[in-house]
């Protein structure tokens, strides 16, 4: 193995400068500091109790609704179709009806301005405990936006990007009406693809209209029956769907755990396919740059070393990390100072750092040529809208500095500074923060179901818009609030947000941290590896 057998020791705050990389023979050129503090025992017990009480009340409510004692707001099947097989089973929607409904006002909040550093929310009110909402007609102005994925602040309606897009809208219109292979391949698309390839440092690139669909439509083109996909346990739904649709065998390794990955690789090559023991046609490793629910950064140097040793192919999904990491904004490869040609398939989205929509895949020319002719998206899906293409081109040129300004460079620096400052202050206040020190996605642990709703509402009262996440996006007791730091946030805004968070944290007793940060090998490596076969 790779010498990852250093004895784990408890790290204290003062020890945070310990380099984990130094024991890996120089694979890491910078300190890699991640922490996932353990859930305090009392908190875990109380959380389970909380869910237990909610479940009991849920059954009670269902009973009352069935006996018509309580008014039923749930939509009902048509009279004429009452004898059809029911479309939903009651137990499938138990969680939605009884738990999600109570705190539903924290999600799907409509906005009516550009989602920049501050945003205007449409005021909603509910008179029947969140079953229906009505708009009061008022607007909550200038809410500090800690929820939108606006890492480099390109979500704006003024400036050079917006002017260029306006021009293209008037010239080309909004739609395209055809697929890439038929009549939908515009000159703008070709220009965009060349620019993306230059940005990433790869030979060639291809752009698609939707980030989710980029994964779900292209992984099936790259892997098929007889191939093996090794996927991280916390991968995004689009990667999981793409892997399932491909028909390959999927095996899951523990999150960001290189020993688990190496074990799976060795077992796969040595034993071959299950039962027949034929060798695998190819092995594809699916990982993400930044995991948005954990805030962790993939250990890319180790993954690349493993992939080279075992001759596997690496598919890197940089949805959150492109533009947000790295000295030049080129993503996690730039962050670690590695060679982009080492990653076989570099995938990413334009939604987060570029303020547009869509996804891309970059790699060698053979790969992209193959995708141009065999990708589901090129054949059956409408190509990208011209104004969106223009937005990506102008923002990417700005980040690269090719528009003649230093705006891009300044924003990248500002984001890095904001991230470090925000995380440090939150940790000092005593919250449990997950993830890597350099990741602009900051999950703050909340744990208890009632606190999820309370946190979201209290922050909104103080004019800060946050995102809270619970089950099923996270494990049941690990609910969290997730902040997305942006380059557009000034220090004053961050300070305002931090003081509000501290206030609410004291009010709701969220400062759980005991400063017992376990080292990054804390996730115990165990023998159970997961195997899931496609039928």
């Amino acid at each position: 193995s790779f010498g990852l057998d250093k004895q784990p020791k408890t790290l204290y705050l003062s020890d945070l400068q310990v380099h984990h990389g130094s024991c890996n023979g120089g694979l890491y050129s910078r300190p890699f500091i991640e922490s996932f503090e353990e859930t305090p025992m009392l908190v875990a017990v109380l959380t389970y109790m909380g869910y237990g009480i909610l479940t009991i009340f849920g059954y009670l409510r269902d009973f009352l609704r069935a006996r018509k004692i309580e008014k039923c707001h749930i939509a009902r099947e048509r009279e004429e179709q009452k004898d059809f097989v029911p479309l939903y089973q009651d137990f499938e929607n138990f969680y939605t009806r009884n738990l999600y409904m109570r705190i539903r006002d924290n999600w799907n909040r409509p906005i009516c301005s550009v989602p920049a550093d501050k945003v205007d929310l449409v005021e909603r009110v509910s008179y029947d405990y969140n079953w229906t909402f009505s708009h009061t007609g008022r607007v909550v102005k200038d809410v500090i936006n800690m929820g939108s994925y606006n890492y480099l602040g390109f979500s704006e309606n003024k400036g050079s990007c917006a002017d260029a897009v306006a021009e293209v809208t008037l010239k080309y219109g909004a739609g395209v009406g055809s697929t890439r292979q038929e009549m939908g391949n515009l000159d703008g698309h070709e220009e965009l693809e060349k620019l993306v390839a230059r940005f990433l440092g790869v030979e060639s690139a291809m752009a698609f209209g939707m980030g989710f669909a980029t994964n779900s439509m292209n992984i099936p083109a790259l892997a098929g029956k007889g191939c093996l996909i090794l996927s991280d346990e916390l991968n995004h739904a689009s990667l999981v769907l793409g892997a399932r649709l491909s028909g390959s065998t999927i095996r899951v390794f523990k999150h960001n755990n290189m020993q688990s990955l190496e074990k799976l690789l060795r077992d796969a090559i040595v034993h071959g396919q299950p039962r027949t023991h034929r060798p695998w046609k190819k092995i594809l490793i699916l990982v993400e740059g930044i995991y948005s629910m954990e805030g962790s950064i993939i250990r890319l140097p180790e993954v690349i070393a493993l992939k080279k040793k075992y001759k596997a192919y690496l598919y890197l999904d940089e949805a959150h990390s492109i533009g947000a990491l790295g000295g030049r904004g080129r993503g996690v490869v730039d962050y670690f100072g590695l060679d982009p040609t080492d990653v076989d398939i570099m995938m990413g989205t334009f939604t987060k750092s570029f303020g547009a929509a869509g996804g891309y895949i970059g790699g060698k020319k053979e790969l992209i040529d193959y995708l141009r002719s065999h990708s589901h998206s090129a054949v059956y899906a409408t190509s990208m809208s011209p104004p969106v293409v223009e937005q990506i081109i102008t923002s990417m040129k700005c980040i690269m500095g090719e528009d003649g300004t230093t705006i891009g460079k300044k924003r990248i620096q500002q984001l890095a500074e904001n991230t470090v400052y925000f995380r440090r202050r939150l940790r000092e206040m005593g919250f449990i923060i997950y993830g890597n020190n350099d990741s602009p996605v900051v999950p703050l642990m909340v744990y208890m179901p009632a606190k999820i709703g309370a946190f979201g509402r209290e922050m909104l009262k103080r004019n800060i818009g946050v995102v809270v996440v619970g089950f099923p996006a996270t494990p049941i007791i690990e609910s969290r609030a997730r902040f997305c730091v942006s380059a557009a946030h000034t220090k004053e805004m961050l300070d305002q947000a931090l003081s509000a968070i501290s206030e609410v944290g004291d009010l709701l007793q969220l400062k759980y941290s005991r400063h017992r940060i376990l080292p990054t090998l804390d996730r115990p490596f165990d023998e159970t590896t997961y195997e899931e076969c496609e039928d």
């Binding site: 939509a75 009902r76 048509r78 004429e80 004898d83 097989v85 479309l87 999600w107 799907n108 409509p110 906005i111 301005s113 989602p115 939108s148 979500s155 917006a162 809208t169 080309y172 219109g173 909004a174 739609g175 395209v176 009406g177 055809s178 009549m183 391949n185 515009l186 209209g209 939707m210 669909a213 790259l222 060795r266 090559i269 040595v270 092995i283 075992y310 001759k311 192919y313 334009f350 939604t351 303020g355 547009a356 929509a357 053979e366 790969l367 040529d369 193959y370 141009r372 002719s373 065999h374 589901h376 054949v379 059956y380 409408t382 809208s385 011209p386 104004p387 969106v388 937005q391 995102v467």
Partner: protein, 478 residues
Amino acid sequence: MIQTTKMASGQQWVLVEMVQAFYEAPAYHLILEGILILWIIRLLFSKTYKLQERSDLTEKEKEELIEEWQPEPLVPAVSNDHPSLNYDVVTGPPSHKITVNGKECINFASFNFLGLLDNERVKQKALASLKKYGVGTCGPRGFYGTFDVHLELEERLAKFMKTEEAIIYSYGFATIASAIPAYSKRGDIVFVDEAACFSIQKGLQASRSFIKYFKHNDMEDLERLLKEQELEDQKNPRKARVTRRFIVVEGLYMNTSDICPLPELVKLKYKYKVRIFLEESMSFGVLGEHGRGVTEHFGVSIDDIDLISANMENAVASIGGFCCGRSFVIDHQRLSGQGYCFSASLPPMLASAAIEALNIMEEDPEIFTILREKCKHAHKALQDIPGLKVVGEAFAPALHLQLEHSTGSRESDVRTLRSIIDYCLDRQIALTQARYLDKEERFLPPPSIRVVVTVEQTEEEIEKATSCIREAALARLE
């Protein structure tokens, strides 16, 4: 001493109790206990084995295997003259007059049915929206990605289609591909037409349900399958009570351009208790007096269809897609539709463009009749071309021209059709081939040329196009 004897007698007393219980126990109890004890003894002495055989190979052998293993190349090589590799390049807006590969042509290839791709009002609305909201939404619907424009568009679509609720997606392909797996899970049964488009096929694959294909537009074949299923149900009524069933059809089929027999489908729905999902990408904004699609065309009540899905990339000339129906059905997708929950929402300027397109459609319902007239005209004009046959309904705006006599090899057919298209491109008529993924389609349609009729084309232009195709066919189909 006394204590130990007391203890000993206590133990003896317990032992006596036990022996008594042993004699008093019923026979079956003793036999059961005896079997269990024998089973435990067997398990204790049987050989243990691990799930994955790891013990057989030595470390050295494993290293050798790892050294020797060679994977396939990541992708197979694609030759430079692969027909799908070299795209036609469009410079400038892809509207009625389109510049393809440097030549200005009349557009018979883009799905711009109502000519709204370069409509000034639509562009101005999109521009106004850009100035207010910027381009991207920077988040999924759940996390500050819901704009008031999205809510307005959903309301307008629901009102237009006269349903309770509508839900919008940011990508047309993902609409039906996310809707089907939200309702149909492992163990459910879906009856689908053979000519269903690729996005429906991907939705079915993601759902892991049992898929039963019936012959294209053949209601008797469908009824046969439904009757077979009924017989199966009688064998296992408990399972049948929880197995959901769906029929998935398209209004106007993209691959064959004909219409589905909706009234018969509705009769089958109530007879066999199956739900209908209707995909209306090609018929929304085309059929019906007000452009509401195939339900208006046949006069079927919209409540009889459980879910209508369409993309906004054809008649509506924007990007994205929507599903509409009763709230009971549609609301479920807000938490279970993968393409809705886990993806960024539609850029607001594209949503505004769609709202303006809806406005135009509502103000001027004449355009649908005009469009259908032009389609009929084109359909008639394309008849009697030697070597090519027209496939599709007379009022369908997207027709297929297939070779009457195939050469036997799909590759050479594709090349012949490409030469016809090149001939037409030289004479300023833009056409395209209908593209498919040969190895992935379940029922691969024969190669064809796609001819799209839009409301902006004049009669002269249609005449010019048809005569050009006729010449091309004569020239290239020897």
